[in-house]
Every structure is written in C-alpha cells, then in structure tokens.
C-alpha cells in the first residue's frame, strides 16, 4: 500500500468516487485550481468545468446550491475552504439541508458532503481556527465525520460520498501533511465505528480529529510512566461508537475525553454524560475532559500554545485522573 499524505488520501478518495459516478461534482472557491490545499489537484482537467466548479465567494449559495443540486439527483461535494466560513452558510446548512428530508416527509434525501477543513493551524487566529464539530452532533439530520489518519480520511470520505445523508466532513487541516498507508482501492469505512488507536487497561481516552496524534504520543509517555491508556479515535461524532466507548470505560473505569474544541459545551460532555447515564455513576472511578479553555484562539505562538491541548497536557490530565 502506498504511503501518502492525509490531504492526498482525501484527494484519492474523491478521485476514485468521481470516476465511478458521474453525478458527483465539486463546488467551492478555487477548486478548479486544485483547492486551497491541493485536495482537488488535477480534477479540472479530468472532470471538466461542469463537475469542478470554481465559485464566487458566496458561501450561502455554495451551500444552498449544493442542496438544490442534490434535490434533483446529483451528488455534490460542497467545499467550504475553511470551516469558519461555513458560518456564512448556516441557514442553508441548519435550516435547510439538515431538515429538508424530514420536513418534506421523506420526499427527498439530500445526498451531499460538506467538506470543512477545521482546527487550529499555524497561528491563523480566532477566525480561522475554530473546532465546532460538537454543534452538529446536536443537529438532527446530519452525519459528522472527524477523521485523523490518511486511511480513515480516505475511507470515511468514500463512505460520505456514497451516503444518502448529508455528511459534514471535517478535514483535519493541521494533519494534511501526515503520512500513512492508503489502499489502491479505497474501501468505505462505516460511520459510527471507533478505531482503537492503542489498547490499554488503566484508563480510556476518547478523542478525534487533529489532536489524535498528540493523544497517541501522550499514551506513549504514559506507558513509560507505567500507565496503560487505551485510545479510541471516534472517527465520527454522529453516529458515534457508544458501544466501544462504554465497553472500554466499563473495563478501565476511568474515562478521559480529549478534543481540540473548547471543553465547555463540547462533544466531550455528551460522552461523559452518556457514560454516567448508561453505565451508572458507580461504574466509573473518575472522568475528565481536556479541551481548549473557553477562549477564542489567539494568534501569538505562546498564547496559542498556552491554550491548545497537546501531549503534555494530555499526560497531566490522565495522571490527574489516575490519582483520583
């Protein structure tokens, strides 16, 4: 299996699917030039300007036109460039895309993928660094993908493109250069199945998206200190693999959720809540969360570093949990 970067894995996945299904097309800014990150490199020459549509800076319409095109039977990939710009298209996403199948009594399934590279990335400051994926798990009608490896990105993107549901696909932009193996023929990865990134017995760390490598590093450091951490990469937040999390947490009795998003009101809260609801509080010895404090992402490196979750902070959080 060839080793490729994560962004190239995503490119290959979209390429494979677009070759197989002429109803798939891409719309977004600069996609004809390959996209901001090269994730559509070469697509224009292969698929032509009807299927690779470089659009005006009109996020509302990028999103809404994707919906309209889905309603007549095409399968658009809606490229938002950077997640934060999706704020310009929230009516289309939340009021329209998420609800239309239901409101119309099932007359239409908007089969579309919204790609939204997200996360803290090279001191891009508050308006280009947000991680609000937890919001969308709260919105009925949406599937939420948050992969962290090249193989998962490729497999989940294939699944997303083939799905009849509207799928929000959060490309982990800070991990675009990350290398990993990707199959020649990319198989879909089902939604809602966590990946066990590391097995362990002392505590369960649940995580996803760009922070996963830091959590894996932390697990290595913890091992060196005699703490055996199991790391579950959720890969999708809705549906999410409650069974895998519960099984692991019931075993280790310690549950830590790590995400790059702000801790308060983040999806980590849902995981802890479900764990105590489902297992009963008595089944657990300690629970905790590590995320960004409830502060916008600052520009200056020392400030960003102070707030951003990293391996050292994961180690500290895990040790605090073990001490309880």
């Amino acid at each position: 299996m060839p080793e490729v970067t994560l962004v190239e894995a995503a490119r290959l996945a979209a390429l494979q699917e677009m070759r197989a299904d002429p109803r798939i097309w891409v719309l977004g800014e600069d996609v004809a030039r390959g996209g901001l990150f090269g994730q559509y490199r070469g697509f224009l020459s292969e698929f032509g300007a009807q299927r690779i549509v470089s659009t005006p800076i009109s996020e509302s319409t990028i999103m809404g036109a994707g919906l309209g095109a889905a309603l007549v039977g095409t399968r658009p990939i809606i490229e938002m460039r950077i997640f934060d710009f999706a704020m310009c298209a929230m009516d289309e996403l939340i009021n329209q895309i998420a609800k239309i199948r239901y409101m119309f009594g099932g007359q239409a399934k908007p089969a579309l993928v919204v790609r939204m590279p997200h996360g803290i990335w090279r001191n891009s400051a508050a308006q280009h660094s947000q991680t609000l994926e937890g919001w969308f798990a709260h919105v009925p009608g949406l599937v939420v993908c948050v992969p962290s490896t090249p193989a998962d990105t490729a497999g989940l993107l294939v699944q997303a493109i083939r799905s009849d549901d509207p799928v929000l696909f959060f490309d982990p932009k800070n991990l675009f250069p990350l290398k990993g193996e990707v199959a020649e023929r990319i198989a879909p990865i089902p939604f809602g199945v966590a990946r066990t990134a590391r097995e362990g017995s002392d505590l369960t760390i649940v995580t996803w998206s760009a922070i996963v490598p830091a959590v894996e590093d932390a697990a290595g450091m913890l091992a060196a200190r005699g703490i055996s951490a199991e790391v579950l990469d959720l890969r999708t937040l809705w549906p999410w693999d409650e069974a895998a999390v519960m099984a692991s947490a019931a075993r280790t009795r310690r549950l830590l959720v790590v995400h790059e998003a702000v801790t308060a009101g983040g999806f980590g809260a849902e995981i802890l809540a479900r764990a105590t609801e489902a297992l009963g509080p008595g089944a657990l010895r300690a629970v905790g969360r590590l995320g960004q404090p409830r502060v916008p992402v600052p520009f200056a490196p020392p400030l960003e570093d102070a707030l951003k979750p990293d391996a050292a902070k994961v180690v500290a959080a895990a040790e605090a949990l073990m001490a309880r």
């Binding site: 509302s60 809404g64 007549v72 095409t74 119309f104 007359q107 599937v143 939604f191």
Partner: protein, 329 residues
C-alpha cells in the same frame, strides 16, 4: 403548453387555476379560523395571477422553489390538492405526512421542491437545482418564487450572480406585493428597484402587472422560451397586492381602508373574469369553474378533517439513514 397567447382556452386555463388557488386559500382560512389547521398560515389571496401565469408555461419536469406564501405556486405547478390540504391539517395523508405544514409544502412528484420558512431560502436551492439538472443532461428549467422582501437578503445577490455566471436555466419570479410582513417595501428598499438590481447582476428583467394574468402568462412564456433556449436566467418582476394580512390572524389594520378597497378593484380574478366575459365566455361557464373549485376545496377540507392523524411513531422517521434515533432510544 408553450408560447403565451390570449386565446380563450389559455385564459380559461389561467382562470381555472386562479379559482382553485383562491378557493383553496379561502377554505384554508376558514379551516384555520375554525381551529382545524394548526400553526401559521400565509395566504396569497390577490396574487394568484403570478403563480398561474408563470406555471402555465412550465413543464411537469420543470422545478419550482417557493416561499412561505406558497400554496398558489404549488397548486399552479400541479401539486395534489388533497395532499396539500391534509398537510395543512397535519394529517398522515399530507404530502409531507404532516411533518411540514403550510410553510413546508413540497410535492416532488410534480417538481415542487418545497415552500420555505426562511425568506430567500429558496433562491440558492433553485440555482443549484438548475445546475444539477444541467449536469444530468436535462433541459428542464427552474422557476424560483420569492417576495419583494427577499431582495434585501444576501442570497438574492449571490443567487442571481451565480445563475448569470453559469448561464443557468432559472426564472426568478419576484412577487412584489409592496409589503414584507408589516413593513412597506419602499421603506426598506433603496435604489431604483428590483429589475435594476437583477440587471446589475447580469440577469435581464421584465416588469409586469402581476394582477393581469394574461400579461404574466405572456411575459413568462417569452422568458421561459429564452431560458430553455439556453440564454441563461431571467427575472420576472410582477407587481401585485396582498389583499389579506401577513398571516391568517393578522388583520393588517395599519393599512388605509381606501388603499385596500382600491386594491380589491384591481384584484386579478375579477379582472380576468371581466375580460373573459368581454371575450364572450358565458357567465355560466365561469360560474361553473368557480363552483367546481369551491366544491373541490370544500371536499378536500371535509376529507382532511376526517383523515387520520399521523401515527406518533413516524415522528422518528426520515431524519437520516446513519445515526437515526429510535423511539425507544
């Protein structure tokens, strides 16, 4: 049917549609007042000519998108009446199985891609539908209905620019009734007007007396022909008047009585009726159309009232395939 014309048959077809829209909405108003219809209800009484005149020029496989005041658009596009009435009543037999109500009526079987509870919400959907149809090799077009209030929201600019850019087959239809909810259009809309805005975005515009069904029909016929011929989007600006309040419970008492009375003189059904009489159509024939429409809608109301409510279990259906929750969850 293609090509406008003022031949009698065509005018009669327009009149028939308009009578059905009027009768549907009068019936719905009465049912709402009687407590049979829950939720908000926006009727288009006085604006029927725009829907009828436009949709008479559409094929069944053409699509439309609509707004909160969409009964007329749906009926003119051929949506099933019983399914519409039951949707308003929130019954299982509604087009949306009772999940949508008046503001979210859709009937995909006739190309009605949905009313919309968000002003201008249908605009991006319409341009995308047109783009999708082209990708699929279809020569169907999309008509996009919205009010004068929608032209002050961003999607109006974005959608028209987009449609012009990609030469998309979209007929934008602005139903300019001069009012948005409780605010006069002139007090919130700057510049020379709707048509000028469209032209500045690369979309040729035609203004028409929207209470003159034949005029709407003729203009729409020409524009639809241009669009289907590949000329790109067009905008039809139809001036009309909202005879009733914003919603069924709004008396719109802030309007001058004289203004409303004058508007009643110009209302499209009476005008078309007078014209048909002039053209020699017997009063009885018109009366028959009117009576049929009333009877159809009364029956639809009666059937809707007797129709079963949706089983509460379906409340959980049709959210999504992956990650759907179940009643027992």
């Amino acid at each position: 049917m293609t090509g406008g014309g003022d031949n009698r048959a065509r005018l009669l077809a327009l009149y028939g549609t308009m009578c059905r829209i009027r009768a549907f909405e009068e019936t719905a108003l009465a049912a709402h007042k009687a407590g049979e219809i829950p939720g908000p209800l926006h009727v288009s009484i006085g604006q029927e000519a725009v829907a009828a005149g436009t949709c008479l020029n559409l094929r069944r496989d053409d699509r439309i998108t609509s707004n909160h005041r969409g009964h007329g658009h749906a009926i003119a596009k051929g949506a099933g009446i019983q399914g519409m009435m039951e949707e308003l009543f929130g019954r299982a037999g509604g087009h949306c199985r009772g999940k949508g109500g008046s503001m979210h009526i859709a009937d995909f079987s006739v190309g009605m891609l949905g009313a919309n509870g968000v002003v201008a919400g249908g605009i991006p959907i319409a341009v995308g539908a047109a783009q999708g149809l082209r990708l699929l090799g279809s020569d169907a077009i999309v008509a996009c209905f919205f009010g004068d209030g929608a032209i002050n929201r961003g999607p109006f600019l974005e959608g028209l620019n987009w449609a012009a850019l990609y030469t998309l087959p979209v007929l934008f239809v602005c139903e300019d009734n001069g009012v948005a909810a409780f605010t006069r259009a002139e007090s919130v809309t700057a510049g020379p007007g709707i048509a000028a805005r469209a032209e500045a975005l690369g979309v040729p515009a035609t203004s028409v007396d929207g209470n003159d069904a034949a005029a709407v029909d003729q203009a729409a016929a020409r524009l639809v022909a241009e669009i289907r011929g590949g000329a790109g989007p067009r905008l039809l600006h139809a001036r009309t008047y909202r005879l009733m309040g914003h919603t069924s419970t709004d008396p719109a008492a802030w309007r001058d009585a004289a203004e409303v009375a004058a508007a009643h003189e110009e209302e499209p059904l009476a005008r078309l009726r007078a014209r048909l009489l002039e053209e020699g159509v017997p009063d009885k024939a018109l009366g028959a159309l009117e009576g049929d429409a009333q009877a159809e809608m009364q029956e639809a109301r009666a059937r809707a009232l007797a129709a079963p409510w949706p089983d509460p279990a379906i409340a959980w259906d049709d959210v999504q395939d992956a990650g759907a929750v179940t009643e027992t969850a």
